[in-house]
């Protein structure tokens, strides 16, 4: 194509979520060169929009023991290779008076069969561990759940892969896939920020586009049946419990509370969706989540919520089933050679954040078989170095007495942000927000984002119209705040609105 930049790679990976990046790292460890292309930034899909639960497998152990077994195996591996991304909090499966103790007993039994260490705690013991829990609870089962930071996880993976030779092309969208005979020949892509076009020649193509997997296959004239299920979550202003709190009953809406840094995340709902680009958290979902989760932690009824958000679970559908929760949360690996006669195309989708490494391993194994090599996987053995910026709550609190703070709510230091900016690679505001805790606190960026623009300006990085950047940020922020706007949040919103309208004339 005229005017387009030609790129060549052995393997092209599409999708910068945990799976795609995990594959890039896996291949880099095997010495196979790859290029990853992502329409936006890393984690722009479900990888960045989940509750950050570090699964023990308990959540699926009764309904989907196979997925549960995968979870616990990966749980053990990730504790070793990415300890810096995981908070080993443990999780409780709480039985309330209306919950069946038969299910609890089946749950404990199933955990045993799936090799998930689980033990029963008495009511008094549970309440001494988590005093905010509903005092009417009957008992709870402790499992090795935890909290995982998906941003840290994916970015650390990407950095390590990059150091080992993997390449990344962000903010670039695949526009067409050219199939010739039994092979994908070329891929055309376009940079979404500058409009630059690329012609990519790759020997193998891996579709790790998550919820967009089907849409991508369409470009190659193929199809796959997927169920898109929206899961909505709410974020509280403060961390309400230190452990993951699950309801000990078959999975349903509003049955989990996951601690995450300074906050707790209340989840989730499951709503069938058609439109991938436009979806919002509805008032019904907000009410449902509060109603259900406050049965476990009554404080939720009075606590302040700071944001609502939703992610899309890419669920593979083998045949039309009614309930999305009944569809396996396990992953699907498709060799399009067998399925469609396209020899160099693989699709990987579904799964959980916690099984990303396993998904990458299986995908890379399949690729190796296609390439005719048997290079072994080593991602389960080689730890991933930690990113240097984020640190735990205690460290950040301590440092807040010493350094200049950019984000008051999340105690993000100015020098921390400047370092990321100096390293380069960030293209827009969203990229910066993915790489720091900026704007993730009480005011949701109301006060720190304009300060950030000041820094961008000082560093000569503010391209184009600052007001436009601010407007874009505020629109996205508004989308997340509007569903939970009442009480003190509304008071704060009035203040922030007057700042942006009055001072920035937006």
């Amino acid at each position: 194509m005229k005017g387009s930049m030609r790129l060549q790679t052995e393997v092209l990976i599409i999708g910068g979520g945990a799976t795609g990046v995990g594959i890039a790292r896996d291949l880099s460890l095997r010495g196979i060169p790859s290029l990853l292309i992502e329409r936006e930034d890393f984690l722009s899909g479900a990888s960045g929009r989940n509750h950050g639960l570090f699964h023990s497998g308990g959540r699926y152990v009764v309904s989907d023991p196979e997925a549960a077994r995968e979870c616990i195996a990966e749980n053990r591996i990730l504790r070793k290779i990415v300890p810096h991304c995981i908070e080993e909090t443990d999780g409780l499966f709480v039985s309330l008076p209306e919950d069946s103790l038969d299910f609890r007993d089946r749950f404990i039994q199933a955990c045993e069969e799936a090799d998930i260490p689980a033990y029963l705690l008495s009511r008094d013991h549970v309440l001494s561990l988590e005093p905010e829990l509903n005092p009417d609870l009957l008992s709870a089962v402790n499992v090795p759940d935890g909290a995982i930071d998906p941003f840290e996880l994916v970015l650390a993976n990407a950095k390590d892969a990059e150091n080992r030779g993997a390449k990344f092309l962000l903010h670039s969208e695949v526009t067409s896939i050219l199939v010739e005979g039994d092979r994908v020949k070329n891929i055309l892509a376009k940079n979404t920020l500058h409009g630059e076009e690329y012609l990519i020649e790759a020997s193998y193509l891996i579709n790790a586009a998550g919820a967009w997997a089907d849409r991508l296959l369409k470009l190659a004239g193929l199809r796959m049946a997927m169920a898109l299920s929206k899961g909505s979550m709410l974020i509280t202003n403060q961390r309400l419990a230190n452990r993951v709190i699950n309801r000990c009953r078959p999975p349903s809406d509003g049955d989990i509370i996951v601690p995450n840094h300074t906050v707790s995340i209340l989840g989730t709902t499951s709503v069938r969706l058609e439109d991938l680009e436009h979806f919002e958290v509805t008032p019904q979902e907000v009410s449902l989540l509060i109603e259900e989760t406050s049965k476990m932690l009554p404080a939720i009824e009075e606590t302040r919520l700071i944001r609502a958000y939703a992610g899309i679970r890419p669920l593979f559908q083998s045949e039309g089933k009614g309930d999305d929760r009944a569809i396996s949360r396990g992953f699907v690996l498709i060799d399009h050679e067998k399925r469609d006669g396209i020899r160099n195309l693989i699709t990987i989708t579904g799964g959980k954040l916690v099984t990303y490494r396993l998904m990458a391993e299986k995908t890379s194994d399949l690729l190796c078989r296609k390439m005719g090599t048997d290079l072994p996987c080593s991602t389960h053995l080689k730890p991933i170095p930690a990113m240097d910026a984020p640190s735990n709550l205690k460290d950040r609190l301590k440092a807040s007495g010493e350094a200049e703070i950019l984000c008051d709510c999340e105690l993000v230091r100015t020098d921390e942000v400047e370092k990321i900016l100096k390293e380069g690679g960030v293209k827009d505001l969203q990229d910066i927000l993915h790489r720091t805790r900026l704007a993730k606190g009480t005011c949701q960026g109301g006060f720190c984002i304009y300060r950030l623009l000041g820094i961008l300006n000082e560093m000569g990085l503010a391209e184009g119209d600052s007001n436009k950047i601010l407007r874009g940020f505020l629109e996205e922020r508004w989308k997340g705040i509007r569903p939970v706007l009442w009480g003190s949040s509304i008071k704060e919103e009035e203040l922030i609105e007057s700042i942006y309208k009055g001072i920035f004339n937006l």
Partner: protein, 433 residues
């Protein structure tokens, strides 16, 4: 089960965090005297509701800077959302110091009431020692009590001794003797006129500024009131300010029954130290959960608040003589935090010939025991700079303020004569002369 119960009890003792209602507006940052002068303290918004989000139960404290909160309550007053910022700070400070351990110095600074009687009795020796440079040097290097700070001198006899022995005084009564029918239990915005009032004078008046107590008694008597001294101990504020909840609560548990007895016998209780008053009225109930405090608080008045009430009902003795003095008045933080306006200023303005100006400055920087501490002395002085400049501009003969801490600091900053406003009011009441 025991652990559960004790946890629940802790929660009752300490108010539930209302950090959730902070709207991050940073108004508190504009009034904080400490963060204004040092980058070491991140300011109320971050130290209070902000840091709350980072403190996990069971984690040890890392926020060493919390110890720099001076406890002025200015942030609480500025907060548009009613966040109890200084209480959050105090609780965090208590936790930090409980874990880290308190220096011996803090024990001395908060337990002066234990040896105050002795110090007064041997005041000549005590005062010689307190002024002695060698002693101050030792206190500085061993205890880290700043040597540039004057240590308050002790007086003999104490206020209480003076009160008992003075010829004009009516026989000393113990607080419990009911001399009026029991008043209503409910809240009365202004208590009815009573012939007797009880006086909570505080330790500093008793042993270090006896004349404040004398002036209080003289003014009240000049208004036809009989003063009764209910049994009392240190209010406990120095301990509370140093994060010692247990010690402070112990003092409160001694004081409240005695004050309650006085209240139930129909007496109003007056305080001349705004810090003691603030402690009893707010901290006893809110932070320390001492039973009976609410009832006491309804009958507890700042001395000038009480006089202003008398004035509003036309019962205040205003036969003042002319006092041609140029005076500056500084309202202490704890007075402002009481939310009663500036009653001393209102009353003093009735005195003919008295030229009195309000000093427009925030916290004096003393913060009770804060300003004595070697590591905090510089901060204390830096905070006081604004106040000193404001006083210099007014160029008064005398400075008045209701709090002993502020008086010490203003003397230290300016070298001027600094009195409690009641002392000037006494001087203006010609018939007491």
């Amino acid at each position: 089960m025991a652990t559960v119960n004790s946890k629940r009890m802790d929660k009752k003792t300490w108010p539930k965090s209302n950090a959730d209602v902070c709207i991050r507006c940073a108004t508190c940052m504009a009034v904080c005297p400490v963060s204004r002068v040092t980058p070491l303290f991140p300011g109320p918004k971050q130290a209070g509701p902000g840091a709350e989000r980072f403190r996990k139960s069971g984690d040890s404290s890392v926020d060493e800077w919390i110890d720099l909160c001076i406890g002025c309550h200015l942030c609480d007053m500025a907060c548009s959302s009613g966040v109890n910022i200084s209480e959050l700070n105090l609780m965090a400070k208590a936790k930090y110091l409980d874990e880290k351990g308190r220096p011996l110095r803090d024990w001395f600074l908060t337990h002066s009431f234990l040896f105050a009687g002795l110090a007064s009795f041997f005041s000549a020796i005590t005062n010689f020692l307190l002024k002695n440079q060698a002693v101050k040097w030792i206190a500085d290097s061993l205890l880290r009590i700043e040597r540039r700070r004057e240590l308050p001198a002790y007086q003999s006899p104490t206020f209480r001794q003076w009160f008992r022995k003075r010829p004009s005084s009516p026989p000393f009564e113990k607080g419990g003797d009911a001399c009026l029918p029991l008043g209503g239990q409910g809240f009365e915005p202004y208590s009815k006129d009573r012939k007797k009032v009880a006086y909570f004078y505080g330790c500093y008046t008793n042993t270090n500024e006896v004349d404040v107590g004398k002036a209080t008694v003289q003014v009240l008597e000049a208004n036809g009131l009989e003063v009764i001294l209910p049994p009392q101990e240190c209010c406990g504020l120095p301990m509370l300010g140093n994060g010692n909840f247990k010690g402070a609560r112990k003092m409160g548990l001694k004081n409240v029954p005695s004050l309650l007895k006085a209240v139930r016998s129909g007496l109003d209780i007056l305080f001349s130290s705004t810090s003691c008053g603030h402690m009893i009225r707010h901290d006893y109930s809110h932070l320390l959960a001492i039973p009976g405090t609410e009832e006491v608080a309804h009958h507890l008045f700042d001395l000038f608040e009480f006089l202003r009430n008398l004035r509003e009902r036309g019962n205040l003795n205003i036969h003042f003589k002319e006092l041609p003095l140029k005076i500056a008045y500084f309202p202490p933080c704890h007075l402002r935090s009481l939310g009663i306006g500036l009653p001393a200023l209102e009353i003093l303005r009735l005195i003919p010939g008295l030229e009195i100006e309000n000093i427009e400055a925030d916290c004096c920087g003393m913060g009770g025991t804060f300003g004595f501490k070697k590591e905090k002395y510089e901060i204390s002085q830096e905070i006081g700079k604004d106040l000193k400049e404001a006083i210099d501009r007014l160029n008064p003969e005398i400075v008045l303020t209701d709090c002993e801490g502020c008086r010490m600091q203003i003397r230290h900053l300016t070298g001027l004569k600094v009195l409690h406003p009641i002392q000037i009011l006494r001087d203006a009441l010609s018939d007491t002369k």
